[in-house]
Subunit: 217 residues, 2 copies
DNA sequence: AAATTAAATTAGATTAGCCTAATTTTACTT
DNA sequence: AAGTAAAATTAGGCTAATCTAATTTAATTT
């Protein structure tokens, strides 16, 4: 129905709208899509023609309701495939993104739903990101950055904001896994280094950069 | 690495070489690929440039060793995905072809091998077609058409030559499944209609057309 | 061997998605 | 309000994969 490229643009616009507000700039899209600005302008015109976005010259772009539905469908599919790769094929959480980036575009409603069922209707992907339901409803998460906690506060590790293999790998090495309870024991004033207690036993020290990549509930 | 289109051409050339001999004609490829002849000529030139085929103007095309390897890899992937769709997701054998036609192009050596392992190293796909091993070796089948059997002879149903949903559906309805023992009880001289005994009980009558779609061992 | 038919190639276009260079529009400073 | 910087668009081109129409090459028939 839609090309891989269109679907990737839709996803990118959706995510930019979620994090940076209603209307998305050409330059922001160009950066995410790793193309040059004129390519984006071009693409937006074509997508506007297909009623996937509303585009006003020099005033940015928004998804239409149809565009939003397609985007969320792709995200659903992406996350389900990631669960499949990790739970069934034995991939590690830092290895699945690129494959899922391809698999997400192989989607019929039926396939996605059968996959969902086969996987036991998971609520989240291997990175803790919520999986939209079959109607495109994505539960609003109330997770907060670990870096917003005060000394003495704690929460459960439920997601990451940094999805790079490098970061995920670091967490593995540090022994911090999704679902772990994390308590802030101390925050060094000089450089915002955090001393954490993981699962009420092991204590570790992480940088502020790492604390900004971790979401807790 | 290679585009979906290239991979589909490689598969088509491979299959035509298997059934119609060494060298493949532009027109034959055009028919299989459902494009017009000049598109094929064009594509063959590009593929020859990439050393996937050897192409001589007006003299047809052959796969190079590299081309053959890629083609068999895609076929391996296609058949493994079909097994996944049927065995794990619950699709019927007449529903999986088009999906596998897409999924086959999502392949890294690692993914294919992990999928193979997850599925328990299946020997054949849901249509009885053999699955090439990780080294690209495809076991030569010695199955024969049911229509070559004489009255009184029997064999096990191990594959089809007609992969259309219509035919597969017909077999379902007729109650003939892969693995069934089939014995030829009678052949009507007038129109080559076959009377078969399935699994040493039920007797059914099939047309010559159907007998030509069934492979037995 | 010549004529006819069939198969394949060349020529010239089109579309999606990308590019660079030039220009225009919008935003930010002084 | 004018000037400068940043963002976006336009203009013009490229490649992969397709098409139709015209031409050439190969195969078949007389
Ligand atoms: Mn993608
Ligand atoms: Mn994820
Ligand atoms: Mn295919
Ligand atoms: Mn098959």
């Amino acid at each position: 129905m839609h090309s891989f490229t269109e679907e990737n643009y839709l996803k990118a616009i959706y995510k930019l709208q979620e994090t940076n507000g209603e209307v998305v700039a050409t330059s922001a899209l160009a950066q995410v899509m790793e193309v040059h600005a004129p390519s984006v302008t071009d693409m937006l015109k074509r997508m506007a023609g297909k009623k996937l976005v509303t585009y006003q010259k020099s005033k940015g772009v928004k998804l239409t309701e149809r565009g939003r539905q397609v985007a969320v469908g792709i995200i659903r599919n992406h996350r389900l495939w990631e669960v499949f790769l990790v739970d069934k094929l034995g991939y590690k959480w830092d290895e699945v993104h690129d494959l899922a980036e391809q698999l997400e575009h192989i989607h019929t409603e039926d396939l996605t739903n059968k996959l969902d069922k086969f996987l036991g209707f998971p609520k989240a992907d291997p990175h803790g990101d919520p999986i939209p339901d079959a109607n495109g409803v994505l539960p609003k998460s109330k997770a907060v950055l670990l870096s917003t906690l005060k000394v003495g506060e704690e929460g459960m590790f439920t997601g990451v904001t940094d999805h790079t293999p490098a970061f995920l790998n670091y967490l593995d090495k540090a022994g911090i896994s999704l679902g772990n309870n994390i308590k802030v024991k101390a925050i060094e004033e000089f450089d915002q280094t955090y001393t954490l207690q993981i699962k009420s036993n092991k204590e570790i020290i992480i940088s502020n950069k790492v604390a900004n990549g971790i979401l807790v509930n």
